[in-house]
């Protein structure tokens, strides 16, 4: 544990503290840093524009997370139901598409879904003559892209807790007369809740920080927090405001994650240790 903490301290805490501290200074005229203490960057955060972008991206990331968790949990469950010696292979196949490149995969979706794309051409081949469906450059397209790219991480997070779930436990529950849904809700879910929580955190944090999917699948008509932070540091060359924005984001996310961790702890408390075989 000590080497990991040392690694994080030396390569994350110290460097990030140096950059985030810039939030208390001013942007120079040409984009450098003017070293005079100010809180104006934090005051700027209260502009409704930024709160709006935060809420929109939290909503988009939240919806993507909910969908990814439901689909991914089911897939992880299905993998653990397969013969044991096939499970590693199935797990590997679930992440394999993501060893290609993000940009190339996203372009492939665009080729498929754009108004003159493969889906439209396919529809026309079957005699469809109406207006082509508008599948891209919408909030739905952004959400679908996030679900696509991050759902496999839910599978990975849920697989281990599900795989060691003692099948006899579920059977015992059913033998005692519990229905499938009750067995799931009272026995399986509590034991695997920490996996679900970890997977949900992965999708949420990766989605809210994403800045390529909104630009390509969303046609740039949507902003995630990731786009906003990227714009401050690179486009506007305004590191102080970028730092202030990042601090606010980190603080909010820390609170959300702490609340979520407490809730998970409570939800699974009853099942602790019950299922190891």
């Amino acid at each position: 544990m000590a080497p990991a903490l040392a690694w994080l301290t030396a390569l994350m805490v110290v460097p990030c503290a140096l950059i985030l501290a810039l939030g208390f200074f001013r942007r120079g005229t040409y984009g450098g840093i003017e070293y005079s203490f100010t809180l104006e960057n934090f005051a700027l955060l209260f502009d409704p524009l930024y709160a709006g972008i935060f809420l929109t991206s939290a909503r988009v990331a939240g919806i993507a997370t909910a969908i990814a968790v439901v689909i991914g949990y089911g897939a992880a469950y299905a993998i653990t139901a397969a013969p044991r010696n096939r499970q590693p292979m199935l797990l590997f196949l679930a992440v394999l598409p993501f060893w290609s490149n993000y940009l190339i995969r996203t372009y492939a979706w665009i080729v498929l879904l754009n108004r003159e794309g493969l889906v439209t051409q396919g529809l026309r081949m079957f005699g469809y003559e109406g207006e082509p469906p508008s599948l891209l450059y919408t909030e739905g397209a952004v959400i679908a892209g996030l679900v696509y790219n991050y759902m496999p991480f839910v599978i990975l997070a849920c697989y281990a807790p599900l795989s060691r779930l003692n099948p006899e436990l579920a059977e015992a529950s059913r033998d005692l007369g519990a229905g499938a849904f009750t067995t799931f809700r009272r026995v399986i879910l509590p034991v695997t809740l920490h996996g679900v929580a970890a997977g949900a955190v992965f999708v949420f944090v990766l989605s809210i920080g994403n800045f390529i999917t909104p630009a390509l699948l969303g046609g740039g008509k949507f902003q995630m927090i990731g786009n906003l932070v990227y714009a401050q540091f690179l486009t506007a060359n305004d590191w102080p405001f970028g730092a202030a924005l990042s601090m606010a984001l980190i603080a909010i996310m820390m609170v959300l994650l702490t609340v979520q961790a407490r809730a998970t702890e409570r939800g699974s408390g009853q099942a602790r240790g019950a299922a190891d075989g």
Binding site: R27, Y30, G32, E34, T56, E116, K221, F233, T235
Partner: protein
């Protein structure tokens, strides 16, 4: 008092380096977009000068800028960046003055290219390619032919939902500024607010913001009219001869991509030799012929085939025509207001 943390750090780092040993003699390192110079340019340079060099790639101006600023130079010797970014790097004290004695091929440039508003006399940047931004459209699907920025922002019914705008801060706002007859470098907050409102309204009639695949959308017919850089419109024309480029009647911007030498470079002599190699008439012509961007090199452009200009009419724009357009400049403190306006436009629904 404005001091640069990065300058201070570069001095410290330099002191630390010289305390240990003399500068290591490494290859000349050039950072560029992939595909922006001849694939054999590095080999040709080495053959011509005996100097070793390698090219690394960057995706955007913003990213290479961020890297150079954060590291004070980052081990690069020559970087290709657009002119407003070169201005910022120069203002931050990160660029080496160009030594004309070491770059004799500067004489190949058009006189206009040595008198660009951002850097008259090529003190810190050498122009590599230049052009303008305008309307790129399918002449077979759009009628009448678009001629104004307003055709992009308030399109005819036939073009609604089939328009893309450039999404990068400066060019997106330029479309709005020009439509209202303002300067592309306007810093008046009232004007920025007006343009923010115009562009927010334009979202309802557009397909998407697109900086990278707009010409491909035009070829497939997904879009009929796009906001485009002249050179990129040529990629569409190459695929479909019905695609045309027009500079709007209100005028447009002049963009210039430049080569700069980093102050932190340990290979300045080779860096100048490299720039000189690129400015050779034949070498520089490669960019015009293969990537279809105009180059500010008189000797190169005069050798261009008339057929090429017939196929891609905007390749025939003269330096005089280009210089009538207003060059994008760094806008200093207004960068913040620009960034906020663009975030507001993109976040609006």
């Amino acid at each position: 008092m404005t001091t640069s943390f990065f300058q201070l750090r570069a001095v410290l780092a330099g002191a630390a380096l010289s305390a240990f040993s003399g500068p290591a003699l490494a290859d000349l390192v050039i950072s560029n977009w992939d595909g922006y110079m001849a694939p054999d340019a590095i080999a040709g340079f080495t053959a011509a000068t005996g100097e070793a060099a390698e090219m690394v790639v960057h995706a955007t101006n913003e990213e290479i800028m961020g890297k150079i600023i954060a590291s004070g130079g980052g081990g690069f010797d020559v970087a290709f960046v657009s002119s407003p970014f070169a201005e910022v790097l120069n203002n931050l004290g990160l660029l080496e003055p160009i030594d004309p004695a070491k770059v004799p091929n500067l004489a190949n440039l058009y006189p206009e290219a040595a008198a660009l508003p951002h850097d008259p006399g090529n003190a810190f940047s050498v122009p590599y390619a230049w052009g303008t931004t305008g309307l790129c459209f399918r002449s077979d699907l759009v009628s009448p032919e678009p001629a104004s920025w307003k055709d992009l922002l308030a399109p005819t019914d036939a073009n609604k939902g089939k328009i893309t705008l450039l999404g990068t801060d400066r060019w997106l706002l330029a479309a709005g500024f020009l439509a209202r007859g303002y300067s592309v470098n306007d810093t008046d907050q009232a004007h920025i607010d007006e343009v923010e409102a115009d562009l927010t309204a334009a979202k309802a009639t557009m397909l998407a913001f697109d900086d990278t695949t707009f010409y491909s959308k035009l070829v497939s017919g997904e879009a009929t009219l796009v906001h485009a850089w002249d050179g990129w419109c040529n990629y569409g024309i190459a695929e479909n001869a019905a695609i045309k480029f027009a500079v709007p009647t209100e005028g447009s911007d002049l963009w210039v991509d430049t080569m700069v030498v980093l102050k932190a470079s340990q290979n300045k002599e080779s860096a100048f030799k490299f720039i000189n190699y690129i400015l050779d008439a034949g070498n520089h012509r490669w960019a015009a012929e293969n990537i279809l961007y105009k180059v500010p090199n008189k000797a190169s452009m005069e050798g261009l085939s008339p057929d090429l200009i017939a196929q891609y009419p905007n390749m025939g724009m003269t330096p005089g025509e280009l210089l009538k357009l207003e060059q994008l400049r760094d806008v200093g403190d207004a960068t913040r207001a620009y960034s906020k306006a663009v975030s507001a436009i993109k976040a609006a629904n």
